[in-house]
């Protein structure tokens, strides 16, 4: 941390438009970050805020961030030009457990498809069998597909409207797949309502399921309690962001989060 005093500097190499709401920034650092898939970074632009992001590629000094424009900071980041700089704090959080035995099914909704990629590549490099499901409302909202192809990822697509691949939601696609095929492990990043459904099905099928949660991360160090998952008092930034689904079903997972002021609010997606 201190070594980089206090942030790692990164240069934007390119900015790739994924969809109308999502861009991928390719970054170059001066040093590799030694990050595990599923860990996240705090991405800072002085004067423009700092937000948590789980990278969509980690390759030595090259990193990519796939960012959905939801508010001020994400909009600013998503519109950076080559040569502009961002400042990175981390790696933070726990990352996925990729040493569990058996085959892996990765399920990514929205930018989650991008953020799951490093986990896929890590499994593939160890020769572990893995299949990647990518979902979105429609073709226009699919992210990172061309990059997945480039990287040689074995993936299948689901769209709600059937404009590409399986017609239906990711939980539906998942249900169909596991009824035919056996997977020992599921990793998922996406909207919480979707992840809850998948985690519940995994319990039924006896599949280990790891989900990556999003909460308001402020300190990222387990210090401020902003990212807490009630009622367990788990801090998403240090105890997570990855949790075993069965351990947090029945909690606020998929149902409630806290806003910046600490008010408990309902999760709609």
């Amino acid at each position: 941390m201190r070594g980089s005093h206090y942030y790692h500097e990164a240069n934007v190499v390119s900015n790739i438009r994924e969809t109308i709401r999502v861009n991928t920034l390719v970054l170059r650092l001066n040093e590799g970050l030694n990050m595990a898939p599923g860990q996240f970074l705090m991405v800072w632009r002085p004067g423009e805020g700092e937000i948590p992001v789980t990278p969509s590629l980690i390759q030595g000094e090259t990193l990519s961030l796939t960012i959905e424009k939801v508010g001020f900071t994400s909009n600013r980041l998503a519109s950076l030009k080559p040569g502009e700089k961002v400042f990175l704090r981390g790696p933070l959080g726990n990352g996925f457990n990729l040493s569990l035995p058996g085959r892996y099914l990765l399920i990514g909704g929205g930018t989650g498809a991008a953020s799951l990629t490093p986990a896929y590549l890590s499994l593939a490099s160890k020769g572990v069998e893995a299949l990647f499901l990518v979902g979105a409302r429609d073709t226009e909202n699919l992210v990172y597909i061309s990059r997945l192809k480039e990287l040689g990822v074995r993936f299948k697509v689901a769209t709600d409207d059937g404009s590409e691949g399986f017609k239906g939601t990711l939980p539906e696609f998942f249900e169909e797949l596991v009824s035919k095929d056996r997977f020992e492990n599921v990793l998922t990043i996406g909207p919480e309502k979707m992840m809850v459904k998948i985690a519940e099905k995994c319990v039924d099928y006896g599949i280990s399921c790891q989900v990556s949660l999003v909460r308001i991360v402020k300190c990222g160090l387990g210090l401020c309690g902003s990212c807490v998952l009630d009622p367990f008092g788990l801090r998403v930034c240090v105890d997570g962001p990855v949790f075993y689904g069965e351990k947090i079903l029945g909690s606020d997972f998929g149902r409630f989060m806290r806003d910046e002021a600490g008010r408990r609010i309902e999760i709609v997606q």
Binding site: K218, C219, F232
Partner: protein
Amino acid sequence: MKMEVASLVLRSPLIVASGVLGSSGSLIKNVSENPSVGAVVTKTVTYKPRNGYENPTVVDLGYGFLNAMGLPNPGYLDYKVELASIKRDLEVPLIVSIGPSNGEEAGKMVEALNSVADGFEVNVSCPHAKNLGLEVGSDVQTVRKIVKAVRESTGKPVLVKISPNVTDFVDVARSAVDAGADAITAINTVRGMAIDVNAMKPVLSNLYGGLSGKAIHPVAVRIVYELYEKLEVPIVGCGGVYDWKDAVELMLAGATAVQIGSAIAYRKMSLNVFNEIEKGIIEYLTTKGFSSIRELVGLAHNS
């Protein structure tokens, strides 16, 4: 290790400091199940809800943290509901931290929160919130008015948390005691700043923030020591307690109980630090031949 502070009976002298658990009621409840935790101070609640400052809000210095959260909290009315939902199941006293900007706010908040609180801690020492915290806490008159309003609104123990950033902290503490405070908590964070050499800008969106952790421990020891000589009320020590020795050091200086904040960071399910510290203190008492923790309090003084 039973202990009494003001009229609060604590099963352990180790208290969770304000702010480090955020606003989560259920987290407070979970924490209270740790037998080494003697009491919990809530996140400071203000009259109106506050989102806090924009990120970055915290800097990790290795030997401590710099934070400018900006007192994010749901406001006292919402927070009352949250605390009420867990109060019945709590195993330890709940000390509600309030951050009023004047006497009127203080009175209203305390009246409303009285039913869920076992005691109050008045935060007049947050080093980075506008019109709150230190901005009220460096003025002896304002402190007096606020504490008086709190005192008049509750019969429960009132702690006042003071700042190390004020030269005449003894006067501030004394005016709080004169206005009815039952105990003084010392200290809140020390003002500081961090600038990133790559970004060439101050890291915190608020520019400066409050230093906590190891770095401020000697400052806390000094202030507790001095307050112990100057005041008649109990002192709750706070600042850089990472292990049992840090806790004992504050007690020898004059602290009746000790709060722990920064040390909670980083640790998974992180309240082990409380168990380790309690264990260390118990061993220390045995080794040194003390029969109760009370005997330690203020022992470093000559008298």
